[in-house]
């Protein structure tokens, strides 16, 4: 996937723009900050989630990190390949390292998200 086609949250998650179901993952910056991801806890497909609910838990050697739903909806698919190959998130955060697919029930919260250019700018500002 091309990052230009994605929307980003301040917590460094991405979601496909203008699609439903839409894939969700974490940004390249996030995977670098987390360092090597060694375990992924994925939800059951079919689960209904609220905006802001924890979708996925990622574990590196010394930290765990939750990935939150940027919008409400139903999980239609999960990337179960990650269970055996969590390193794919590090290798290809925008591609093979996608996490779940969400059927969006209300897309209004997505209006607050950043496009790639805005996200890049946000990252620069954050670095102090």
């Amino acid at each position: 996937m091309n990052p230009e086609d994605l929307l980003f949250t301040k917590d460094h998650e991405w979601i496909e723009s203008g699609k439903s179901p839409a894939r969700i993952g974490i940004s390249d910056y996030a995977q670098k900050e987390l360092t090597d991801i060694v375990y992924v806890e994925l939800p059951e497909p079919g689960t209904e989630v609220e905006k802001g609910a924890s979708l996925v838990t990622l574990e590196s050697v010394k930290a765990t990190s939750d990935v939150y739903a940027p919008a409400p909806g139903k999980i239609t698919a999960v990337n179960s390949d990650l269970e055996d190959n969590p390193q794919k998130i590090n290798e290809s955060p925008y591609g093979e390292g996608w996490l779940v697919e969400l059927e969006i029930s209300d897309s209004a919260p997505l209006d607050e998200l950043m496009d790639y250019a805005a996200y890049e700018k946000y990252l620069k500002e954050e670095e102090v």
């Binding site: 060694v38 375990y39 838990t57 574990e59 590196s60 050697v61 010394k62 930290a63 765990t64």
Partner: protein, 447 residues
Amino acid sequence: MRYIANTDQQKREMLKEIGVSSFEELIGTIPEEMRFRGELDIPGPLSEAELEEEFADLAKRNADFTSLKPLIGAGAYKHHLPRAIQALLGREEFYTSYTPYQPELSQGTLQAMFELQTYLARLTGMEVVIPSVYDGASATAEAALMSLRLTRKNRIIISSTLHPHYRSVVETYTAPHGTEIIELPYQDGLVAGPRLEKVLTDDTAAVIVQSPNFFGGIEKIAELAGLAHARSALFIQVVAESISLGLLKTPGEMDVDIVAGEAQSLGMELSFGGPYNGYLGARKKYLRQLPGRIAGETVDRDGKRVFVMTSRAREQDIRREKATSCICSNHGLNIIASDIYLSLLGTEGFYQTALLNTRAAHYLEERLVASGGFERVFDYPFFNEFLLRSKKPLPGIRASLLEAGFLPPLALGAFIGDESLENTALFCVTEIFSREKLNRVTQLLST
């Protein structure tokens, strides 16, 4: 003050460099009215000589435990401990160090963990072993909680032959979760398969059975585990006397899912009940649900084989409220004690020790029964503890044993509040009893 380094002069210098005129200024954020005024009402300070005298006096208020030989076990076992254990544990690098978070400076502790994990895996037949939680009872409670998480069920069957303290701790730990606890009555000192079958349901998370059990009896673990599995419940075996593993089948061979053990027998003093050390063994697929620290093998930048704490994301400092347990401090030094103990005894020593325990226990049991003063309560196989009913009142027996230098057996009926076990004594015999001593006990109790 011998444990405070800086002199008053140095403290004044330091305060000056900090830029304050007094210590009070440093703690200025604490409002006056909250501060403690005056001096804490604490005796002392005692010089080292005074301290030694004080503690010698306290110790003298106890019976002379250095020479008393315990005929009691019940979860705390007196075995001979090679002196090398205490000598090695006294190395400051072991006993004063912290949890091995920095592997470059902690390979001693980490390798000892890895070695004990190996020993315990071999003794229990389990694929993965957490070498330290607090004790066998809390290990059992952690195993119970683990079974709730793994099965998402909330009912646990506990054998009535489980150590009463262990059972109480399981109840304490599971109380907040509203877990239904079913007590499984014993039959002739053991868990009976048909009785277990009757209470097993599909919503049972786990069956907890101790073997050798609190009465000393050896349970038919493989059969019981099979019954539990048939109803998709996990089977947890509790091992309170780990020396028994030297002689018995491993829990792994008997298809046990989780082992909750007490390692006190493997190198620890009785020490009035603690610190001992609990361990947890399980199938590898359950690793992520195990509480506590585990060491794993890896390499350093030069390719050397080294050890680190691993699978850390289960733990409270990383996972906070989602951790498998709140356990942080464990009983790390006791890990080293067991590693040394098992290394010294070795293959043959450990086997022979287990063998001698059971032989000595059976020797005394047969003699006491033959003496006519006691009768058997249960017809069960046992390891190094056995239950007999005394034909004479127990208090008299206790007095004569104490006088002759033996700590009396546990008066079981009174202890667990079971009238059908009135006047029964739970004996424990370990390798510290010679034939002569056992003959002496028989003689004392026959007259």
